[in-house]
Subunit: 183 residues, 2 copies
């Protein structure tokens, strides 16, 4: 199948989290156009299980976090962006500890996904964490969050009722619920 | 729970799809900082069913679309961004027709989600479309896509095998599979 090619790339802004490029692109039909592209280093997210994920309605942990973009608090899985060159699993271990204070006996990669490929190359690597030991959380100054514990079935209800509104979180929960049940 | 407040907002770039603001924010502890915020008008996405969604392993439709951000083709539900003031359901009807040539007897809203709230306010409104009538697709010059038909169970397999890598698409499929089955 045909693929567009890059003619030129213009860096508009280099930020702490995102970088904005406007690329001039030639399409397979010979026409040209500009595409706005948010470059992002990628992220890791973790669905922490407090009991056996394969057991009967296991307990999970979510954080309730202020999101400036949403103008309010969202329930989310712990997550954070990759440091340069960082292995996604190392990032998952670090973010789980920073945001919940927990360390895990085992991290298992579930899936990697493009968050919104129409305008950003961001990919999120999603893990489940099992065998948790609780410690002290160590959040960043711009993070305001609470840790919440609930059953997996309760979190599914919250997705269906629109109370979980973050895409990676709903996807992690539905993925874990669907596929660990052998779907 | 405490909420940060905006001190000032600086528009860095106004594009066709995204707008970049850098906002100066005061956090509840009194400290201040800058947040990069990609403003986006929001989008609608549609999971089209070719047979009864409640029936035995229904047929669905996905598009395989070139994504510059991914440097390749992704399987996705038809989707597109909202025009100013556009009702999400009207956008869903329009995008379904443009990308697949189909019109639907009924659009049903499934959920609305923040795609990646760490740096953008983009929300996607996700619908299922049932009772499809086929017509002529009318894609945009920068869209290169094929329409694929498959069973819902096949699409679940593709999520599990990592062949569906777009978040809204995996979420729409898992949501429809989980909750239309009465989970």
């Amino acid at each position: 199948m045909p693929e567009p090619s890059t003619i030129a790339s213009h860096r508009i802004y280099t930020g702490k989290v995102v970088t904005l490029d406007v690329d001039q692109v030639r399409f397979p039909d010979g026409s040209t156009g500009e595409l706005e592209m948010i470059r992002h280093p990628g992220a890791a997210a973790i669905l922490p299980f407090l009991s056996d994920p394969a057991g009967d309605d296991p307990q999970i942990m979510l954080i309730k976090q202020y999101r400036y973009a949403a103008g309010g608090y969202l329930y989310e899985v712990p997550a954070g962006k990759l440091e340069p060159g960082e292995d996604p699993e190392d990032c998952a271990v670090r973010e789980l500890r920073e945001e919940t204070g927990c360390s895990a006996q085992r991290m298992q990669h579930l899936f990697t996904t493009y968050t919104t490929p129409g305008f950003t190359d961001e990919q999120i690597h999603v893990f489940i964490a099992v065998g948790l030991t609780r410690g002290e959380a160590n959040t960043q100054p711009d993070e305001f969050l609470e840790v919440h514990t609930m059953t997996l079935s309760r979190s599914l209800q919250m997705i269906q009722q629109g109370d979980i509104r973050d895409a990676k979180t709903a996807l992690a929960i539905l993925y874990a619920a669907g596929f660990s049940a052998g779907a």
